[in-house]
Point group: C2
Amino acid sequence: MDSRQRAIDATAALLWRQGLRATGINQIVEESKSPRGSIYFHFPGGKEELAAAALRSAGAVMTANIRGALAHRDVRTAVKRFVLSYAKEMRESDFQHGCPIATVALEAASASPAIREVCAGVFAEWDALLVARLERDGIRGKKARKLGAVILSALEGAMILCRTHRTTEPLEWVAEHLTATLTAAAAPR
Amino acid sequence: MDSRQRAIDATAALLWRQGLRATGINQIVEESKSPRGSIYFHFPGGKEELAAAALRSAGAVMTANIRGALAHRDVRTAVKRFVLSYAKEMRESDFQHGCPIATVALEAASASPAIREVCAGVFAEWDALLVARLERDGIRGKKARKLGAVILSALEGAMILCRTHRTTEPLEWVAEHLTATLTAAAAPR
DNA sequence: CGTCCGCTGGACCGATCGTTCCAGTCGTCG
DNA sequence: CGACGACTGGAACGATCGGTCCAGCGGACG
Protein backbone atom coordinates (compact mmCIF):
# COMPACT_ATOMS: atom_id res chain seq x y z
CA MET A 1 0.00 0.00 0.00
CA ASP A 2 1.38 3.38 -0.93
CA SER A 3 2.00 6.11 1.57
CA ARG A 4 -0.97 8.12 0.36
CA GLN A 5 -3.42 5.33 1.16
CA ARG A 6 -1.70 4.57 4.45
CA ALA A 7 -2.12 8.21 5.45
CA ILE A 8 -5.82 8.14 4.57
CA ASP A 9 -6.43 4.92 6.49
CA ALA A 10 -4.54 6.01 9.57
CA THR A 11 -6.29 9.37 9.57
CA ALA A 12 -9.70 7.78 9.21
CA ALA A 13 -8.98 5.49 12.15
CA LEU A 14 -7.76 8.35 14.33
CA LEU A 15 -10.67 10.63 13.44
CA TRP A 16 -13.02 7.82 14.30
CA ARG A 17 -11.72 7.50 17.84
CA GLN A 18 -10.46 10.98 18.64
CA GLY A 19 -12.08 13.51 16.36
CA LEU A 20 -10.50 16.27 14.32
CA ARG A 21 -8.77 18.58 16.79
CA ALA A 22 -7.36 15.78 18.89
CA THR A 23 -5.73 14.16 15.87
CA GLY A 24 -2.38 15.72 15.09
CA ILE A 25 -0.26 15.49 11.98
CA ASN A 26 2.55 14.03 14.07
CA GLN A 27 0.32 11.23 15.24
CA ILE A 28 -0.78 10.52 11.67
CA VAL A 29 2.87 10.39 10.58
CA GLU A 30 3.70 7.93 13.35
CA GLU A 31 0.75 5.61 12.87
CA SER A 32 0.72 5.62 9.10
CA LYS A 33 4.48 5.46 8.68
CA SER A 34 4.02 7.98 5.90
CA PRO A 35 6.69 10.66 5.97
CA ARG A 36 5.60 14.21 6.69
CA GLY A 37 6.84 15.33 3.28
CA SER A 38 4.74 12.74 1.50
CA ILE A 39 1.60 13.80 3.30
CA TYR A 40 2.00 17.41 2.24
CA PHE A 41 2.97 16.25 -1.25
CA HIS A 42 -0.20 14.21 -1.67
CA PHE A 43 -2.40 16.62 0.25
CA PRO A 44 -1.19 20.16 -0.41
CA GLY A 45 -4.24 21.43 1.45
CA GLY A 46 -2.76 20.03 4.64
CA LYS A 47 -4.75 18.56 7.48
CA GLU A 48 -8.09 19.73 6.14
CA GLU A 49 -7.65 18.05 2.76
CA LEU A 50 -6.33 14.86 4.33
CA ALA A 51 -9.20 14.75 6.79
CA ALA A 52 -11.71 15.25 3.98
CA ALA A 53 -10.22 12.34 2.06
CA ALA A 54 -10.20 10.18 5.19
CA LEU A 55 -13.84 10.98 5.92
CA ARG A 56 -14.88 10.16 2.37
CA SER A 57 -13.00 6.87 2.66
CA ALA A 58 -14.54 5.99 6.02
CA GLY A 59 -17.93 7.01 4.67
CA ALA A 60 -17.56 4.70 1.71
CA VAL A 61 -16.65 1.77 3.95
CA MET A 62 -19.73 2.40 6.06
CA THR A 63 -21.88 2.78 2.95
CA ALA A 64 -20.80 -0.67 1.85
CA ASN A 65 -21.61 -2.08 5.29
CA ILE A 66 -25.04 -0.48 5.28
CA ARG A 67 -25.73 -1.75 1.80
CA GLY A 68 -24.82 -5.24 2.96
CA ALA A 69 -26.91 -5.09 6.11
CA LEU A 70 -29.94 -3.75 4.26
CA ALA A 71 -29.81 -6.56 1.73
CA HIS A 72 -31.93 -8.80 3.95
CA ARG A 73 -35.34 -9.16 2.40
CA ASP A 74 -37.30 -8.27 5.52
CA VAL A 75 -36.89 -4.55 6.26
CA ARG A 76 -37.38 -4.98 9.94
CA THR A 77 -34.71 -7.63 10.19
CA ALA A 78 -32.47 -5.56 7.94
CA VAL A 79 -32.69 -2.42 10.08
CA LYS A 80 -32.45 -4.39 13.29
CA ARG A 81 -29.28 -6.20 12.25
CA PHE A 82 -27.91 -2.98 10.88
CA VAL A 83 -28.38 -1.13 14.18
CA LEU A 84 -27.22 -4.04 16.30
CA SER A 85 -24.04 -4.40 14.26
CA TYR A 86 -22.99 -1.08 15.78
CA ALA A 87 -23.67 -2.40 19.25
CA LYS A 88 -21.23 -5.20 18.47
CA GLU A 89 -18.63 -2.75 17.17
CA MET A 90 -19.08 -0.73 20.36
CA ARG A 91 -18.50 -3.68 22.63
CA GLU A 92 -15.51 -4.94 20.71
CA SER A 93 -13.80 -1.57 20.66
CA ASP A 94 -14.38 -0.84 24.35
CA PHE A 95 -16.91 1.82 23.30
CA GLN A 96 -14.39 3.73 21.21
CA HIS A 97 -15.97 3.04 17.83
CA GLY A 98 -19.16 4.99 17.40
CA CYS A 99 -20.01 6.76 14.18
CA PRO A 100 -16.76 7.32 12.25
CA ILE A 101 -17.73 10.82 11.26
CA ALA A 102 -20.13 12.17 13.90
CA THR A 103 -17.44 13.58 16.19
CA VAL A 104 -15.75 15.33 13.29
CA ALA A 105 -19.08 16.56 11.95
CA LEU A 106 -19.85 18.32 15.23
CA GLU A 107 -16.37 19.78 15.52
CA ALA A 108 -16.42 20.96 11.90
CA ALA A 109 -19.84 22.57 12.17
CA SER A 110 -18.23 25.57 13.81
CA ALA A 111 -14.69 25.25 12.46
CA SER A 112 -14.53 24.11 8.86
CA PRO A 113 -17.28 24.53 6.27
CA ALA A 114 -15.38 22.30 3.83
CA ILE A 115 -15.22 19.36 6.22
CA ARG A 116 -18.77 19.95 7.37
CA GLU A 117 -19.92 19.58 3.79
CA VAL A 118 -17.99 16.36 3.32
CA CYS A 119 -19.74 14.98 6.41
CA ALA A 120 -23.09 16.20 5.10
CA GLY A 121 -22.43 14.34 1.85
CA VAL A 122 -21.65 11.11 3.67
CA PHE A 123 -24.75 11.40 5.85
CA ALA A 124 -26.83 12.07 2.75
CA GLU A 125 -25.46 8.93 1.12
CA TRP A 126 -26.43 6.78 4.06
CA ASP A 127 -29.81 8.41 4.22
CA ALA A 128 -30.42 7.78 0.51
CA LEU A 129 -29.61 4.10 1.03
CA LEU A 130 -32.10 3.84 3.86
CA VAL A 131 -34.81 5.68 1.96
CA ALA A 132 -34.31 3.48 -1.10
CA ARG A 133 -34.64 0.40 1.08
CA LEU A 134 -37.82 1.70 2.67
CA GLU A 135 -39.34 2.48 -0.71
CA ARG A 136 -38.57 -1.03 -1.84
CA ASP A 137 -40.94 -2.06 0.91
CA GLY A 138 -43.79 0.12 -0.19
CA ILE A 139 -43.11 3.11 2.04
CA ARG A 140 -43.29 5.89 -0.50
CA GLY A 141 -42.05 9.39 -1.09
CA LYS A 142 -42.03 11.86 1.77
CA LYS A 143 -42.93 9.20 4.30
CA ALA A 144 -39.83 7.21 3.40
CA ARG A 145 -37.63 10.29 3.47
CA LYS A 146 -38.91 11.25 6.91
CA LEU A 147 -38.55 7.75 8.28
CA GLY A 148 -35.05 7.44 6.85
CA ALA A 149 -33.96 10.59 8.65
CA VAL A 150 -35.56 9.36 11.87
CA ILE A 151 -33.72 6.04 11.65
CA LEU A 152 -30.40 7.79 11.05
CA SER A 153 -31.08 10.26 13.87
CA ALA A 154 -31.94 7.55 16.35
CA LEU A 155 -28.87 5.57 15.35
CA GLU A 156 -26.48 8.52 15.65
CA GLY A 157 -27.97 9.65 18.94
CA ALA A 158 -27.89 6.16 20.39
CA MET A 159 -24.21 5.90 19.52
CA ILE A 160 -23.48 9.08 21.44
CA LEU A 161 -25.31 7.74 24.48
CA CYS A 162 -23.59 4.37 24.19
CA ARG A 163 -20.12 5.88 24.05
CA THR A 164 -20.87 8.24 26.91
CA HIS A 165 -22.53 5.70 29.19
CA ARG A 166 -20.38 2.80 28.08
CA THR A 167 -23.42 0.60 27.53
CA THR A 168 -25.01 -0.83 24.42
CA GLU A 169 -28.54 -0.50 25.76
CA PRO A 170 -29.54 2.64 23.83
CA LEU A 171 -28.65 0.95 20.54
CA GLU A 172 -30.57 -2.15 21.53
CA TRP A 173 -33.63 -0.15 22.52
CA VAL A 174 -33.48 1.88 19.34
CA ALA A 175 -33.28 -1.34 17.32
CA GLU A 176 -36.34 -2.61 19.15
CA HIS A 177 -38.22 0.64 18.67
CA LEU A 178 -37.44 0.88 14.97
CA THR A 179 -38.54 -2.70 14.42
CA ALA A 180 -41.91 -1.86 15.94
CA THR A 181 -42.15 1.34 13.94
CA LEU A 182 -41.42 -0.45 10.69
CA THR A 183 -44.03 -3.07 11.46
CA ALA A 184 -46.58 -0.31 11.86
CA ALA A 185 -45.38 1.60 8.79
CA ALA A 186 -45.30 -1.38 6.48
CA ALA A 187 -48.77 -2.56 7.48
CA PRO A 188 -50.79 0.58 8.16
CA ARG A 189 -54.38 0.29 9.17
CA MET B 1 -20.98 38.37 38.74
CA ASP B 2 -17.68 37.10 40.08
CA SER B 3 -14.85 35.91 37.90
CA ARG B 4 -15.47 32.30 38.77
CA GLN B 5 -19.02 32.37 37.46
CA ARG B 6 -18.00 34.39 34.40
CA ALA B 7 -15.40 31.74 33.58
CA ILE B 8 -17.97 28.97 33.90
CA ASP B 9 -20.50 30.77 31.70
CA ALA B 10 -18.00 31.69 29.01
CA THR B 11 -16.60 28.15 28.97
CA ALA B 12 -20.08 26.63 28.72
CA ALA B 13 -20.89 28.88 25.76
CA LEU B 14 -17.62 28.06 23.99
CA LEU B 15 -17.92 24.32 24.59
CA TRP B 16 -21.43 24.46 23.20
CA ARG B 17 -20.30 25.88 19.87
CA GLN B 18 -16.75 24.59 19.52
CA GLY B 19 -16.25 21.56 21.69
CA LEU B 20 -13.46 20.79 24.11
CA ARG B 21 -10.24 20.74 22.10
CA ALA B 22 -11.12 23.79 20.06
CA THR B 23 -11.74 25.85 23.18
CA GLY B 24 -8.51 27.27 24.55
CA ILE B 25 -7.79 28.84 27.91
CA ASN B 26 -6.76 32.03 26.14
CA GLN B 27 -10.14 32.28 24.50
CA ILE B 28 -11.89 31.67 27.81
CA VAL B 29 -9.78 34.40 29.42
CA GLU B 30 -10.68 36.85 26.67
CA GLU B 31 -14.40 36.14 26.55
CA SER B 32 -14.97 35.86 30.27
CA LYS B 33 -12.69 38.74 31.25
CA SER B 34 -11.51 36.51 34.07
CA PRO B 35 -7.77 36.74 34.56
CA ARG B 36 -5.70 33.67 33.90
CA GLY B 37 -4.59 33.56 37.52
CA SER B 38 -8.15 33.58 38.79
CA ILE B 39 -9.13 30.66 36.63
CA TYR B 40 -6.33 28.50 37.99
CA PHE B 41 -7.08 29.75 41.48
CA HIS B 42 -10.72 28.70 41.31
CA PHE B 43 -10.07 25.59 39.23
CA PRO B 44 -6.72 24.15 40.30
CA GLY B 45 -7.46 21.16 38.10
CA GLY B 46 -7.10 23.42 35.08
CA LYS B 47 -9.05 23.10 31.88
CA GLU B 48 -10.53 19.74 32.78
CA GLU B 49 -12.00 20.94 36.06
CA LEU B 50 -13.31 24.14 34.50
CA ALA B 51 -14.89 22.22 31.63
CA ALA B 52 -16.54 19.83 34.07
CA ALA B 53 -18.05 22.73 35.99
CA ALA B 54 -19.20 24.39 32.77
CA LEU B 55 -20.84 21.18 31.55
CA ARG B 56 -22.65 20.70 34.85
CA SER B 57 -23.86 24.28 34.61
CA ALA B 58 -25.01 23.96 31.00
CA GLY B 59 -26.62 20.65 31.88
CA ALA B 60 -28.58 22.24 34.71
CA VAL B 61 -29.87 25.01 32.44
CA MET B 62 -31.04 22.43 29.93
CA THR B 63 -32.61 20.37 32.70
CA ALA B 64 -34.68 23.38 33.70
CA ASN B 65 -35.74 23.94 30.09
CA ILE B 66 -36.75 20.31 29.70
CA ARG B 67 -38.68 20.39 32.93
CA GLY B 68 -40.53 23.46 31.67
CA ALA B 69 -41.27 22.02 28.25
CA LEU B 70 -42.49 18.73 29.72
CA ALA B 71 -44.93 20.51 32.03
CA HIS B 72 -47.64 20.52 29.37
CA ARG B 73 -50.37 18.10 30.34
CA ASP B 74 -50.46 16.28 27.03
CA VAL B 75 -47.28 14.18 26.63
CA ARG B 76 -47.38 14.36 22.88
CA THR B 77 -47.60 18.13 22.87
CA ALA B 78 -44.95 18.30 25.56
CA VAL B 79 -42.41 16.20 23.65
CA LYS B 80 -43.23 17.89 20.37
CA ARG B 81 -42.69 21.37 21.75
CA PHE B 82 -39.61 20.17 23.55
CA VAL B 83 -38.04 18.85 20.35
CA LEU B 84 -39.14 21.79 18.22
CA SER B 85 -37.67 24.26 20.70
CA TYR B 86 -34.27 22.95 19.59
CA ALA B 87 -35.16 23.59 15.98
CA LYS B 88 -35.83 27.19 16.94
CA GLU B 89 -32.51 27.44 18.77
CA MET B 90 -30.80 25.98 15.70
CA ARG B 91 -32.28 28.52 13.34
CA GLU B 92 -31.60 31.46 15.62
CA SER B 93 -27.96 30.51 16.15
CA ASP B 94 -27.25 29.84 12.47
CA PHE B 95 -27.06 26.11 13.31
CA GLN B 96 -24.32 26.61 15.88
CA HIS B 97 -26.36 25.64 18.93
CA GLY B 98 -27.04 21.94 19.01
CA CYS B 99 -26.74 19.90 22.18
CA PRO B 100 -24.52 21.84 24.60
CA ILE B 101 -22.66 18.73 25.68
CA ALA B 102 -22.80 16.23 22.80
CA THR B 103 -19.68 17.47 21.05
CA VAL B 104 -17.71 17.38 24.27
CA ALA B 105 -19.15 13.99 25.18
CA LEU B 106 -17.82 12.49 21.96
CA GLU B 107 -14.44 14.15 22.31
CA ALA B 108 -14.13 13.09 25.93
CA ALA B 109 -15.10 9.48 25.25
CA SER B 110 -11.55 8.82 24.11
CA ALA B 111 -9.72 11.58 25.94
CA SER B 112 -11.02 12.20 29.45
CA PRO B 113 -12.87 9.70 31.61
CA ALA B 114 -13.68 12.42 34.15
CA ILE B 115 -15.42 14.65 31.61
CA ARG B 116 -17.09 11.69 29.98
CA GLU B 117 -18.64 10.82 33.32
CA VAL B 118 -19.89 14.35 33.84
CA CYS B 119 -21.58 14.16 30.45
CA ALA B 120 -23.03 10.77 31.31
CA GLY B 121 -24.48 12.25 34.48
CA VAL B 122 -26.14 15.09 32.57
CA PHE B 123 -27.59 12.73 29.98
CA ALA B 124 -28.90 10.51 32.77
CA GLU B 125 -30.61 13.50 34.38
CA TRP B 126 -32.41 14.40 31.16
CA ASP B 127 -33.34 10.80 30.62
CA ALA B 128 -34.76 10.51 34.12
CA LEU B 129 -36.91 13.57 33.49
CA LEU B 130 -38.30 12.07 30.29
CA VAL B 131 -38.95 8.71 31.89
CA ALA B 132 -40.74 10.31 34.82
CA ARG B 133 -42.95 12.24 32.43
CA LEU B 134 -43.78 9.12 30.44
CA GLU B 135 -44.66 7.22 33.59
CA ARG B 136 -46.99 10.03 34.61
CA ASP B 137 -48.87 9.14 31.44
CA GLY B 138 -49.25 5.51 32.23
CA ILE B 139 -46.23 4.20 30.36
CA ARG B 140 -44.66 2.04 33.01
CA GLY B 141 -41.33 0.62 34.02
CA LYS B 142 -39.05 -0.80 31.38
CA LYS B 143 -41.22 0.47 28.56
CA ALA B 144 -40.85 4.02 29.79
CA ARG B 145 -37.11 3.64 30.28
CA LYS B 146 -36.69 2.31 26.75
CA LEU B 147 -38.86 4.99 25.22
CA GLY B 148 -37.04 7.70 27.15
CA ALA B 149 -33.73 6.57 25.76
CA VAL B 150 -35.17 6.41 22.25
CA ILE B 151 -36.50 9.96 22.52
CA LEU B 152 -33.14 11.24 23.74
CA SER B 153 -31.32 9.28 21.03
CA ALA B 154 -33.51 10.61 18.25
CA LEU B 155 -33.17 14.15 19.58
CA GLU B 156 -29.38 14.01 19.84
CA GLY B 157 -28.99 12.38 16.46
CA ALA B 158 -31.31 14.85 14.79
CA MET B 159 -29.28 17.71 16.20
CA ILE B 160 -26.12 16.28 14.63
CA LEU B 161 -27.85 16.02 11.26
CA CYS B 162 -29.31 19.52 11.58
CA ARG B 163 -25.96 21.10 12.36
CA THR B 164 -24.25 19.18 9.57
CA HIS B 165 -26.88 19.77 6.90
CA ARG B 166 -27.83 23.21 8.14
CA THR B 167 -31.52 22.36 8.07
CA THR B 168 -34.09 21.88 10.79
CA GLU B 169 -35.91 19.13 8.95
CA PRO B 170 -34.50 16.19 10.91
CA LEU B 171 -35.69 17.73 14.18
CA GLU B 172 -39.11 18.40 12.70
CA TRP B 173 -39.43 14.86 11.41
CA VAL B 174 -38.28 13.41 14.70
CA ALA B 175 -40.89 15.54 16.49
CA GLU B 176 -43.54 14.22 14.14
CA HIS B 177 -42.39 10.63 14.55
CA LEU B 178 -42.26 10.82 18.32
CA THR B 179 -45.75 12.31 18.45
CA ALA B 180 -47.05 9.35 16.49
CA THR B 181 -45.11 6.92 18.65
CA LEU B 182 -46.48 8.40 21.84
CA THR B 183 -50.02 8.25 20.50
CA ALA B 184 -49.54 4.56 19.89
CA ALA B 185 -47.80 3.97 23.23
CA ALA B 186 -50.36 5.83 25.33
CA ALA B 187 -53.31 4.09 23.70
CA PRO B 188 -52.16 0.60 22.80
CA ARG B 189 -54.57 -1.66 21.00
C1' DC C 1 24.34 5.00 -18.73
C1' DG C 2 22.50 9.57 -17.75
C1' DT C 3 18.68 12.34 -16.85
C1' DC C 4 14.65 13.36 -14.79
C1' DC C 5 10.94 13.46 -11.57
C1' DG C 6 7.81 11.48 -8.13
C1' DC C 7 8.47 10.88 -3.64
C1' DT C 8 10.86 10.76 0.87
C1' DG C 9 13.05 12.05 5.38
C1' DG C 10 13.88 15.34 8.52
C1' DA C 11 15.35 19.86 10.06
C1' DC C 12 13.13 23.91 11.11
C1' DC C 13 9.59 27.73 11.49
C1' DG C 14 6.42 30.82 14.17
C1' DA C 15 2.20 30.30 16.66
C1' DT C 16 -0.36 28.58 20.18
C1' DC C 17 -1.25 25.25 23.65
C1' DG C 18 -2.05 24.40 28.98
C1' DT C 19 0.28 25.46 32.96
C1' DT C 20 3.21 27.71 36.57
C1' DC C 21 4.70 31.38 39.24
C1' DC C 22 4.71 35.49 41.76
C1' DA C 23 4.51 40.36 42.86
C1' DG C 24 0.88 43.27 43.60
C1' DT C 25 -3.92 44.81 44.86
C1' DC C 26 -7.88 45.04 47.62
C1' DG C 27 -11.31 44.22 51.07
C1' DT C 28 -11.84 42.47 55.73
C1' DC C 29 -11.07 41.79 60.34
C1' DG C 30 -8.27 42.01 64.73
C1' DC D 1 -4.24 51.19 61.28
C1' DG D 2 -1.67 47.09 60.42
C1' DA D 3 -1.76 42.51 58.89
C1' DC D 4 -3.53 38.90 56.49
C1' DG D 5 -5.56 36.18 52.98
C1' DA D 6 -8.37 36.02 48.86
C1' DC D 7 -7.91 37.20 44.39
C1' DT D 8 -5.74 39.46 40.21
C1' DG D 9 -2.73 40.54 36.13
C1' DG D 10 0.74 39.24 33.38
C1' DA D 11 5.33 37.37 32.31
C1' DA D 12 7.31 33.24 31.21
C1' DC D 13 7.65 28.03 30.71
C1' DG D 14 8.36 23.80 27.80
C1' DA D 15 5.65 21.16 24.71
C1' DT D 16 3.31 20.58 20.71
C1' DC D 17 0.74 22.34 16.97
C1' DG D 18 0.24 22.69 11.54
C1' DG D 19 3.05 23.95 7.91
C1' DT D 20 7.35 24.92 4.97
C1' DC D 21 11.52 23.85 2.82
C1' DC D 22 14.89 21.29 0.59
C1' DA D 23 18.60 17.96 -0.25
C1' DG D 24 18.60 13.61 -1.88
C1' DC D 25 16.93 8.91 -2.94
C1' DG D 26 15.54 5.61 -6.45
C1' DG D 27 12.98 3.80 -10.25
C1' DA D 28 11.52 4.74 -15.12
C1' DC D 29 12.66 6.03 -19.46
C1' DG D 30 15.36 8.09 -23.42
